[in-house]
Symmetry: C2
Subunit: 292 residues, 2 copies
């Protein structure tokens, strides 16, 4: 187990306790998570993958030293990136997700009987396997004919696929390194082109507190192509500073007019009708970022 000490972000303190220390340049903070057990680690062709157990967040997936999701609050991200676009479209049949190889958002999408096809495009097969083994061993998609996992670079996939989708969910990483291409205008055009005439897409668009320019540019780029662009906010305790933004871009359907009855009786831990609507209410300082 000595290899763990050379993993990105992992450090032992003077008492021998293992921590993940994640420096966030935008806010000049370091968010550190106390680790109970390092359960698994691996260098994949794309990144360092590890699975840890913690007392604060339960088990977590960590990529290149940055926690991605946890058992104790992962439902927040999973529900809010999926239910909102799926409910905004009145009758989505074809859905795809770029990123999210842990399949959390795909599991949420499965809760809608009308959905006929869910493609998950995850570049790194090792992420999917690690999550399946350590985080969600009883995986739903063994016997789920609607589900398809595609291990491919998200941008390559969207450029090459011939399919059209009603809903695309873009769970992209930060706009640095290999993730940067998922923040460029030509990527937004590719997303637009792969949506049906009534299609819509949702994009992870960063922290409105310390990543203002990511949100600002995302909205600006999307407004050049889509008639309807809406920001919504959620609080993700695992992420630095907590507040996170998503941007929904739509060819026809406005989330503020969505039929929220479709959320009724869904088995969720975060979202309901009121939370759906409240998440689109932006504090003044966030409106200022995007000139609303």
């Amino acid at each position: 187990m000595s290899g763990q000490d050379s993993l990105s972000g992992y450090k032992r303190d003077e008492d021998g306790v293992l921590w993940i220390r994640n420096y966030v340049a935008g806010a000049r903070i370091e968010m550190s998570y106390k680790i109970k057990d390092l359960l698994y680690y691996e260098q994949s062709p794309f990144q360092e993958i590890s699975i840890v157990d913690t007392k604060g967040f339960g088990k977590m997936l960590v990529l290149d030293g940055a926690p991605q999701n946890s058992m104790r609050e992962g439902f927040i991200y999973n529900e809010m990136i999926s239910h909102i676009p799926i409910v905004t479209h009145p009758n989505p049949k074809n859905v795809a997700m770029i990123g999210g190889g842990d399949c959390g958002p795909a599991r949420e999408a499965m809760k809608y009987a009308g959905i006929e096809k869910i493609d998950v495009i995850e570049i790194d097969k090792c992420v999917t396997e690690a999550c399946r083994k350590w985080l969600t061993p009883i995986s739903f998609y063994e016997n789920e004919p609607r589900f398809q996992m595609i291990h491919k670079d998200g941008r390559d996939w969207i450029q090459e696929t011939k399919e059209n989708y009603d809903v695309l969910m873009i769970d992209r990483p930060d706009p640095v390194g290999p993730g940067a291409k998922l923040f460029k205008p030509d990527f937004y055009q590719l997303v637009y082109d792969r949506l049906t005439e009534e299609g819509l897409a949702v994009f992870q668009s960063g922290s409105p507190f310390y990543n203002k320019s990511t949100l600002e540019k995302t909205v600006k780029n999307l407004k050049e192509k889509f008639p309807i662009v809406r920001i919504y906010l959620i609080n993700i305790p695992l992420f630095p500073c907590g507040l996170w933004s998503f941007t929904l871009a739509s060819k026809k359907w406005d989330p503020l007019d969505a039929d929220l009855n479709r959320l009724k009786d869904k088995d969720t831990q975060y979202i309901d009708r009121d939370v759906f609507l409240a998440s689109f209410v932006l504090p003044k300082y966030v409106k200022d970022i995007v000139g609303l």
Copy 2:
């Protein structure tokens, strides 16, 4: 300046950079803030007080190693602890605040012309002086006859005062050490007794993510005394995990029926009518904590 290295929470890294490292037991995380300059520090009779400058949050007030508020996002806390109770009461005249010696919430209260009296009860005179000198040098209250600063223990004050208030704002610290008495049933009774017949009070009630029992007990205690008890949530980027709860307890007025026109034309950076209402919408997992 060598004394700084013995201040609680302050540590230098191997490059000589100063950090404040704040361990949060509930979430097993450490939130660390990179410090540009330590501007001021002092051991008062009650606590270690320091004022630092940071690139992430601007200038900050730090008490016993825990950042309390910052120039870059302090408006969030200040606005949300004050405007919501003040607008809930249709015509508050007498207002008091326990804690908040930096006077941020009191400055917000000043924006309501109908308010005739604002008492701030801050145990530590040194906090007020440090904030006034380093954070808000142009202080409003020099020529503000409505304002009165009382340097006294909050619980002693509320037990001894003969005044009645329309709105009480309780900016209490965590329920450990000397702050614990502000979380006991007899304190809630004292608050009740010092409110007018139509009065209401708001309490800082902790993180709904890692301090569930604080929120749960606060709501339970208040429901035993007040007919109307409402929780609202805000995101404070400075605080660990971001999400924070306040609990409003009222003898007559319900915030959900408030006249939100009173917020119109108020000079704010966070709150407006929509934000007021949205802050009372609770994710399902928060409702579960309090059995809603």
